[in-house]
Amino acid sequence: MSCIECEKIKQGKYLVYEDSSVIAMLSERPAAKGHVILFPKEHYAIIEQMPDELIGHMLSAANRISAACFRAAGAEGTNILINNGIAAGQKTGHASINIIPRAENDGLNLQWQTATANEDDLKTAQLILKDELEGSKKPEEIKEENQEEVILEETPEEENYLLKQLERIP
């Protein structure tokens, strides 16, 4: 199958991270400065098609890239966004994760309109989803030996805006 993203992955232009299963490249049409798009190397259209291990690995890699944006690229915040399906704004046929560094007054607005949900609607949706999930295969239990160091521990405290925020009491 011919896929534009598969071609881009082969070329690896503006590559920032790569391992055996994923590749991350800077967007050439960024939503904000330093916008990174992370792809699985293998072709999957939507995340539901991806094996559990891969989606887990993808988010870990996205988190690492997000942390790098904080540490090295002066981000004051980050958004991680998956547009999964055409109705959700997916533009290409290859699943991806956006990592978008954020700064004060960067002009980007990813905030949705909220409404107060009708209690009956909520309860119905709750019943349906609970039913649906009861039949789903749960993600496999995490093995202790797979635990890795917390990424934030590497972060120099005095430079990190978010860490300063965290020290404050909510």
């Binding site: 049409r29 109705a87 989803l129 909510p170």
Partner: protein, 181 residues
């Protein structure tokens, strides 16, 4: 929520990071949702995480997935928790598609106030999407890129990625040997 005794700034200064973390947990609404102290429309729970329906949703079937442990932002969560959250998000997204007839989902994490984070607890939003649902905020603007090489170098270095320099096509050793014969 449990009554908090009044703490002075002096008290807070003298607290250890562990005590401060404990205090944050005690004050976190989302930790109370996880433990069941505060009522919610819970749809899923396991040892590591839980999911509830947002009572102020973006659409029908707006799910909030959270770790039970208190992490303020994603980079604080250990790798195994991040992995597990991703797998669970995939399962929830599939359930929204199968059960609610969603035609897609947005999976969204905000780290930091400037990114739109509102809660002091790491939250993964799984937002069910329907054609013509009027949600436009996830249509990412496409700006002209500036200084891509510079950002690439900074991020690649931070991520330990070795960038290949674009050099003339490599000639394999075999070809050289052949030419020398």
């Amino acid at each position: 929520m449990p009554e908090q005794q009044q703490l002075t700034e002096e008290d807070l200064k003298n607290m250890s990071p562990e005590q401060l973390a404990e205090l944050q947990k005690q004050n976190c609404l989302f930790c109370h949702l996880g433990s069941g102290k505060v009522q919610s429309k819970k749809i899923y729970e396991d040892e590591i995480c839980f999911a509830v329906l947002d009572i102020n949703p973006a659409s029908r079937g707006h799910i909030l997935l959270m770790p039970k442990e208190h992490y303020a932002i994603l980079p604080q969560a250990p790798e195994n928790a991040v992995n597990h959250l991703a797998k669970t998000a995939k399962m929830l997204s599939r359930a929204a598609i199968a059960g609610l007839g969603a035609e897609g989902t947005n999976i969204f994490i905000a780290s930091g106030a400037v990114a739109g984070q509102k809660a002091p607890h790491l939250i993964m939003h799984i937002i069910s999407r329907f054609h013509d649902d009027g949600i436009t905020c996830f249509e990412l603007p496409e700006n002209n890129a500036e200084g891509l090489e510079e950002i690439q170098e900074i991020l690649a270095k931070e991520l330990g990625t070795v960038l290949k320099k674009t050099e003339p096509e490599e000639v394999s050793l075999k070809e050289i040997e052949k030419a020398l014969k």
